[in-house]
C-alpha cells in the first residue's frame, strides 16, 4: 500500500515535470519560429539566411537547432548536417536523433523540432536538443525506481513489524482467553496504553471479564451461603427424624417430631426463598417494569402493618410525612419497595428494646431528592460493622438470639441498588438510622446508567 502510494506520487512528479519541460520547449520553439518567420516576411530569404547564420554561430553547441533547406535539396544554412529522415506530425513537430561528433566522439542525442514550409519552396526547422530532458527523465526514472524499491522494502518491513505487533496483541487476547478457559477468571488482556482500537477492545473485554467475574463470585457466594445457612437446619431436621426413629416413640412423640421437622422445613424454605429473591433482584435490570410509587403512602402502609407488633412490645412506631404538598413519588417496583420498607421496620422492631422508639419518615433533601428514613433508638450498629451487615448472612453476635435469616438488610441493599437509591447507615445517637436517597424522578436509574 505504502509502496503503491509513493510510486503514484513519484510518477505524478515525473509526469508533471516532464510535461512542464515539454511545454517550455514547445513555447520556446514556437516563439523563435514566429520571430524567424517575421524576419522572412519582412526581409525575404536572404534576411532569414543571415539571421540564421548569426544564430548558428552565436550558439555554439547543439542546444538550439536550425536548418533551412529547399523542399528537395541540400540544406542552405543551419547546424544540422542533413535534413532529418523523419516525418513531421500534423503540427509540424518531429522527434529525431542527431548524430554529431563532439571532441572526436560520435554521439547520438535526441532532438525535438518543428518544421514550417515557407512560401519560396523553402522549409525551416527550428528545434531544441532534448538531452537535458532525457537526462532529467532518466534521473527521474532512476530515482523513481529507487524510491519505489525503497518504499517496497520499507513497506514489507513495516508490514512485517505491524503484523507481528498485531499478531502479538491478538495472541495476548488469546492467551487471556486460554487462562480463563483454564478456570482462572482473574486473567485480563494487557492494555498497551496507546489508546488505539486494540486498547479499546482490550478495555471492553476486561470490563466484560470484570462483570463476569463479579457475577460468578456473587453466584459462588450465594452457593456458599446456601450451603452454610441451610446445612445446619437440614442437619437439625435430619437428626430429629433419625432420633425419633431410633427410639420406640408413641404417636404423640411422632407427631411432635414431625411438627418440628415441618418447622425446620419452613425455616429452610424461607431462607431459600429470601436468597433466591435477592439473587433475582441483583440479576434484574428490568427497570421497564418500574412505575410511579408514592413513597409516603407506602411507608404509611408499612407502619400501619407493623404498628400493632411494635405496640405489643411497648414500642412507639410513627410515620412522619414531609411538610407541604409536594408529591413523594419515585419510580420503582411497588412490591419490592414495600418488602424493603417492611424489612427495615421489621429489623428496627426486632433489634430495639421493649419500650423503644422507631420513627419512619419521608423527606426531601436540599436537591429535592426523596429520602426514606427509618431510625430507632435501639443498640445501633458499631461503625466498623455498618458496611458488612449489608452482606448476606451477616448477623452481629449480639443479635444471634433473635429469629431471622440474616438476609433482611442484604435484600434492602439489593432493592436500593436496583432503584439507584443510595443506602446509608448512620448513628442515630443512640440507635441505628437507615436512610435511602432516591435518585431524582427525572432520571430513573435505567437512563442514568445508559448515560454513563
Amino acid at each position: 500500500m505504502f509502496a503503491l502510494l509513493s510510486g503514484v506520487v513519484l510518477g505524478l512528479v515525473y509526469w508533471t515535470t516532464a510535461a512542464l519541460i515539454d511545454q517550455q520547449t514547445v513555447t520556446a520553439v514556437n516563439t523563435e519560429m514566429a520571430g524567424l518567420k517575421d524576419i522572412y516576411h519582412r526581409g525575404g530569404p536572404n534576411a532569414l539566411v543571415s539571421a540564421l547564420e548569426n544564430r548558428v554561430t552565436g550558439y555554439q553547441g547543439y542546444h538550439h537547432i536550425y536548418l533551412l533547406a529547399p523542399l528537395d535539396g541540400e540544406p542552405l544554412v543551419g547546424n544540422l548536417r542533413q535534413w532529418p529522415k523523419v516525418e513531421p506530425d500534423r503540427n509540424g513537430w518531429m522527434h529525431f536523433m542527431v548524430e554529431s561528433e563532439i571532441e572526436g566522439r560520435r554521439q547520438l542525442w535526441p532532438a525535438h523540432a518543428r518544421v514550417v514550409h515557407l512560401s519560396s519552396g523553402l522549409r525551416l526547422l527550428v528545434g531544441r536538443d532534448m538531452t537535458e530532458r532525457t537526462g532529467f527523465a532518466r534521473i527521474m526514472e532512476q530515482s523513481l525506481a529507487f524510491a519505489l524499491g525503497a518504499a517496497l522494502i520499507l513497506g514489507i518491513i513495516g508490514g512485517i513489524i505491524m503484523s507481528r505487533n498485531l499478531l502479538r496483541r491478538i495472541d495476548a487476547v488469546n492467551r487471556t482467553a486460554q487462562t480463563i478457559l483454564e478456570g482462572d477468571l482473574s486473567g485480563r488482556v494487557p492494555v498497551s496504553g496507546g489508546g488505539d482500537e486494540f486498547d479499546r477492545l482490550a478495555i471492553n473485554l476486561n470490563s466484560m471479564l470484570d462483570r463476569i467475574q463479579k457475577l460468578v463470585s456473587a453466584m459462588r457466594d450465594v452457593t456458599d451461603n446456601i450451603a452454610h445457612d441451610l446445612r445446619s437446619p437440614l442437619n437439625r431436621m435430619r437428626s430429629r427424624l433419625e432420633i425419633t426413629l431410633v427410639g420406640k416413640p408413641d404417636l404423640e412423640e411422632y407427631r411432635h417430631s414431625l411438627e418440628g421437622a415441618l418447622e425446620d422445613t419452613d425455616h429452610i424454605l424461607h431462607t431459600f426463598n429470601a436468597l433466591l429473591s435477592i439473587a433475582r433482584i441483583e440479576g434484574r435490570n428490568a427497570v421497564e417494569t418500574f412505575a410511579p410509587v408514592d413513597l409516603s403512602e407506602l411507608a404509611a402502609n408499612t407502619v400501619d402493618l407493623y404498628e400493632p407488633v411494635a405496640e405489643e412490645r411497648g414500642q412507639s412506631l410513627t410515620f412522619t410525612p414531609p411538610l407541604g404538598e409536594r408529591p413523594t413519588t419515585v419510580m420503582g417496583d411497588r412490591h419490592l419497595l414495600s418488602q424493603m420498607t417492611a424489612n427495615l421496620v421489621d429489623n428496627a422492631i426486632k433489634y430495639t428494646q421493649d419500650g423503644g422508639r422507631i420513627e419512619v419518615a419521608v423527606r426531601f433533601d436540599a436537591t429535592g431528592a426523596v429520602h426514606l428514613v427509618v431510625g430507632d433508638n435501639g443498640p445501633g450498629i458499631p461503625e466498623k460493622f455498618r458496611h458488612s451487615v449489608l452482606d448476606r448472612f451477616v448477623r452481629l453476635e449480639q443479635s444471634r438470639h433473635t429469629v431471622g435469616t440474616g438476609l433482611g438488610l442484604s435484600l434492602v441493599a439489593a432493592v436500593a441498588d436496583l432503584h439507584g437509591a443510595r443506602l446509608e447507615l448512620s448513628d442515630n445517637a443512640p440507635g441505628l438510622r437507615v436512610e435511602l436517597a432516591f435518585p431524582d424522578r427525572a432520571a430513573p436509574p435505567a437512563q442514568a446508567e445508559a448515560a454513563e
Partner: protein, 225 residues
C-alpha cells in the same frame, strides 16, 4: 367436589391427590398439559389445580385455551416462579389464584376452598352476618349482639375478609395479599398480632369466640359448634 390436578411430577401429584382426597375431594389427575386440557374441557370439575410448567402444553396456554372455550372452572395455578410478575402473568392468562412452589398444603387447601366458595351467594352484598356478628358494608358499622364495635379501617377490612370467607380456613398469606396487598412473607407474626387485636374487639366480651386459630394453617371465622 371434584378437582382436577394437572401436575407432571408424579410424586408431588400423588401427595397432592392424597391430601385432597383426605380432605373430602374427588381427585382426577393428568400429567401433561394436553391431557389436562382435554379432561378440563370434556368433564365437569369444581376446580382445577394447574402446574404452570407442564410437558406438551404449558400451564398458561391451558388456562387461556380453557377460557376461550368458555369454561369458567376456577383455576389455581402452581408455579416455581414466585415473583410478582409471574403471578400477574398467571392471573392475566385467566387463572383465579396463584401459589408459588414450594407451598404448604394447608395454604393450597385454604385457597382452593376460597375458590370453590367464591361462586356462592351474591357478590354485591351490603350486609355480612356470622352468628350474632353483623357488618354493614355501606355504613361501615359492625355490631355484635346489637352492641356496636368500633374498628380501625384496617381492622374493618380484615374482619370483612374473614366474614366473606366465614367457615373457611384463611391463611396468613391470603390475609397479607388480600387485606394489605403484600406479596411477600414478612417473617414476623404481623398477621397474628393484627388478628389478636381484632379478637380483643370482636370476641373478648362475648362467650363464644368467633375467630378461631387453625393450627398450622391460619384462621377461621365461624360460629362454634
Amino acid at each position: 367436589m371434584r378437582i382436577l390436578v394437572v401436575e407432571d411430577d408424579a410424586e408431588a401429584a400423588a401427595y397432592l391427590a392424597k391430601g385432597l382426597r383426605e380432605s373430602g375431594y374427588v381427585v382426577d389427575h393428568a400429567d401433561n398439559g394436553m391431557d389436562g386440557l382435554y379432561m378440563a374441557t370434556n368433564e365437569t370439575y369444581d376446580a382445577i389445580v394447574l402446574d404452570r410448567m407442564l410437558p406438551r402444553l404449558d400451564g398458561l396456554a391451558v388456562v387461556e385455551t380453557l377460557r376461550k372455550a368458555g369454561k369458567q372452572t376456577p383455576v389455581l395455578i402452581l408455579s416455581a416462579l414466585g415473583e410478582v410478575d409471574a403471578r400477574v402473568q398467571g392471573l392475566r392468562a385467566g387463572g383465579d389464584d396463584y401459589l408459588a412452589k414450594p407451598y404448604a398444603f394447608s395454604e393450597l387447601l385454604a385457597r382452593l376452598e376460597a375458590l370453590l366458595r367464591r361462586g356462592d351467594g351474591p357478590t354485591q352484598q351490603t350486609r355480612l352476618q356470622v352468628g350474632d356478628l353483623e357488618m354493614d358494608l355501606l355504613a361501615r358499622q359492625v355490631t355484635r349482639s346489637g352492641r356496636a364495635i368500633t374498628l380501625q379501617p384496617r381492622e374493618f377490612r380484615l374482619l370483612e375478609y374473614l366474614m366473606r370467607h366465614a367457615g373457611q380456613v384463611v391463611t396468613r398469606t391470603m390475609l397479607l395479599e388480600n387485606v394489605w396487598d403484600y406479596h411477600f412473607d414478612p417473617q414476623t407474626n404481623v398477621i397474628d398480632v393484627h388478628v389478636s387485636r381484632l379478637r380483643q374487639k370482636v370476641d373478648k366480651d362475648f362467650d363464644k369466640p368467633l375467630i378461631q386459630t387453625v393450627r398450622g394453617a391460619g384462621y377461621c371465622l365461624r360460629e362454634p359448634d
